[in-house]
């Protein structure tokens, strides 16, 4: 396939924004339905009391906090990856960055709702905010939940701007092509972008700064999420490995989510000529590295517990290794390592389909990992008399399903309003020097997937 002219690209990439198929609307209705069901479930929980959920003594945290950690982790897909690639100036990143950053923003927003959902009295959630209240009470800075509050807000600001800034020129692009109401809307959101060299240059340097700033923020966010656990003297929680362990897991699940999202976009928005196998291959390699890193962390964690042989920790250890939680544990290992490793390691298997299969495994596996970090420890905390177990109720399951649906829903809506691939960045790929941008280089066995 020959390189395309900038105008052709623009047309291709703006095409998804015009009109929507029946299939699209059905899917939208489907996911919307699930989200509404989840909202009802939450309403019921607020009305009837948190007791309608399955959490109990001593497992005071269950699905909700699992989802919290999982989604925050997923949010490390975009910003972190695209920031790193941006700094590394990897040209092939250009078609990938935006769909990644979108995942970040949505996953983060979804994850951030769970600390509220899981509250006993959610209507008082605002007591967490450090504002001068008439009660003269300030929140407790020493609580990791407060750290979460600050970290998540910073990360949210960072990732939202990181997503929005590069969107401005594309907004202008649509503005100039649109008519009527859409024109008005897009001229508002393109905030008077004209494309003067000054604007271009300031945008670039702003993105550079953002890229530098957002990486440490992303790392800190998931470290702090891990400290929600590591700060408590709970067997197998109270460990220094948690922060890097969580960050690694976060990036791991993030990349997986990105691959899945790209595959879906590629199929449904007909972006076969823009999201190429090379992108999946490169991300696949990244995923492989993370999979190995993840395994290394799990091994290190397990080893130290086993060797230390501290009774209360060993109880948790055996419960996950051979006891009642072992099926989930080994399923996790299969999903996170046994499946992805060969697929991604063997070049022949590292096709788009291969990468997607591996990624699906990883997403499931990482959710299980969060669950297995939280529940077994809580259910086997020191005094055997108060050991307990945990079963989620339909409320928790519905709300969990709802968040996945919400992710799909938001993503679909977004891809209908904004070009999911940054057009100007794609065009700006240095063609004149390096001939074709790698992104548009003809790659063998295109139909391999």
């Amino acid at each position: 396939m020959a390189a395309k002219t900038p105008d052709q690209m623009t047309d291709d990439l703006l095409r998804p924004l015009e009109g929507a198929s029946g299939r699209y609307w059905t899917a939208l209705a489907f996911f919307g339905g699930i989200v509404i069901a989840a909202l009802c479930a939450f309403a019921w929980q607020v009305y009837g009391g948190i007791g309608v959920a399955g959490i109990r003594r001593p497992v005071f945290w269950g699905f909700y906090i699992t989802n919290f950690v999982f989604w925050i982790g997923l949010s490390h897909a975009g910003t972190l990856i695209s920031a790193i690639l941006r700094l590394a100036n990897a040209t092939w990143r250009r078609p990938v960055t935006r769909c990644a950053e979108v995942i970040t923003v949505f996953a983060l927003s979804i994850g951030a709702t769970f600390p509220v959902i899981h509250l006993g009295r959610p209507w008082l959630a605002f007591w967490l905010f450090p504002y001068p209240s008439e009660r003269g009470i300030w929140p407790n800075i020493r609580s990791p939940l407060l750290w979460d509050f600050f970290a998540i807000n910073t990360y949210l600001l960072g990732s939202v701007t990181f997503l929005l800034l590069p969107m401005i020129p594309d907004m202008a692009l649509i503005r100039d092509r649109a008519t009527g109401l859409r024109k008005k809307v897009y001229s508002v959101v393109s905030i008077g972008w004209r494309g003067t060299p000054k604007q271009w240059h300031r945008l670039e340097s702003a993105m550079q700064i953002m890229a530098v700033a957002v990486i440490p923020v992303a790392v800190s966010v998931h470290s702090i999420v891990s400290w929600d656990f590591a700060m408590a003297p709970v067997p197998a929680w109270h460990s220094t490995i948690f922060a890097p362990y969580f960050v690694c897991g976060a990036i791991f699940s993030g990349i997986a989510a990105l691959i899945i999202a790209m595959a879906l976009l590629r199929k449904f928005l007909h972006l076969e000529e823009y999201l190429l196998r090379i992108h999946f291959e490169n991300l696949g390699k990244l995923l492989l590295v993370m999979s190995l890193l993840w395994f290394y962390f799990v091994f290190a964690e397990r080893l130290t517990i086993w060797y230390g042989n501290e009774p209360s920790e060993m109880t948790v250890f055996w419960v996950t290794q051979t006891g009642s939680f072992s099926p989930l544990f080994w399923l996790m290992v299969i999903c996170n390592f046994v499946i992805p490793f060969p697929i991604l390691a063997i070049k022949k298997l590292r096709t788009i389909t291969g990468c997607v299969i591996a990624s699906i495994g990883v997403v499931i596996g990482m959710w299980l990992e969060r669950f297995l970090i939280i529940v077994p420890s809580l259910s086997h905390k020191y005094l055997p008399y108060s050991f307990g177990t945990y079963r989620p109720t339909w409320v928790e399951i519905t709300i969990t399903a709802g968040t996945f649906a919400a992710m799909a829903l938001l993503y679909m809506l977004f891809s209908k309003t904004v070009p999911i691939i940054s057009i100007w960045e794609l065009k700006a790929a240095p063609q004149t020097q390096s001939g074709h941008a790698p992104a548009l280089a003809p790659v063998g066995q295109e139909g391999a997937d």
């Binding site: 006993g120 009295r121 905390k381």
Partner: protein
């Protein structure tokens, strides 16, 4: 200086009769949750008697251990609370401000002793059972963490009484409901800041141990370990 309330539990005296458990329910307006919720781990017993078996039939030893909030000096439950609902009182108690609690349940996870109990639903007393409620103790609504207070309402009442009579509290003058009820006098309550109080003396004894003391929570409850029969010679 402020009192430092502490307790000693003599496992050699405790017979696991659970008078303390019911006395605590009666004193502190702890609601019963019914069979279904109890089956789902929602029963609330601020003090419980843990039972452990050692060995197999016929050589079997049984051990009772009453467990209540240890009122730790370095309490893991306190700092994790984002709203200061759980905090440390001047008299060394792990206070729980009910109406400040938003129900993160973080404190309950952090507590190694599992002595914090959560109100999963609004409590109910079928009329006229509501008439049994103790007016000195507030009722906890849904979504709130509750826990043993060492019967702070009794402590305060005692202190006010003593202050009114312009005197210091006498040792043993104030007793939580559990201590008051204990038939074998296995539980002793008092001021640890007073080295001569009975509780201080017993806590210094060589049988004294702290529950999960290795975690560095500095509990203010001391357990006197079960003693063994020293044989005929002491007869």
């Amino acid at each position: 200086m402020a009192h430092q309330w502490g307790m000693v539990i003599d496992l050699d005296r405790c017979t696991g009769c659970e008078a303390c458990v019911v006395a605590c329910h009666a004193e502190n307006n702890i609601s019963t949750v019914g069979e279904d919720q109890a089956a789902r781990g929602r029963a609330k017993h601020w003090i419980r008697v843990e039972r452990y078996f050692e060995g197999e039939f016929p050589d079997l030893k049984t051990k009772f251990m009453p467990v209540l909030c240890q009122q730790c000096d370095a309490a893991p439950c306190e700092p994790v609370c984002p709203t200061f609902a759980s905090y440390h009182t001047i008299e060394g108690l792990n206070g729980q401000v009910y109406n400040r609690c938003i129900g993160t349940r973080y404190c309950a996870n952090a507590c190694p002793y599992n002595v914090r109990f959560f109100n999963w639903y609004n409590p109910e007393w079928e009329k006229p059972l509501n008439l049994q409620l103790n007016p000195d103790v507030s009722i906890r609504e849904v979504g709130i963490m509750e826990k043993c207070t060492f019967c702070v309402q009794r402590i305060k009442a005692g202190e006010i009484q003593a202050a009114a009579e312009k005197r210091a509290l006498k040792d043993g003058e104030v007793q939580p409901a559990c201590v008051q009820s204990c038939p074998t006098k296995a539980m002793v309550f008092g001021d640890l800041s007073d080295p001569d109080s009975e509780v201080s003396r017993l806590a210094r004894g060589n049988r004294g141990t702290k529950l999960l003391g290795e975690l560095g929570t500095l509990p203010k409850v001391t357990y006197l370990q079960k003693d063994s029969w020293h044989g005929s010679e002491n007869a």
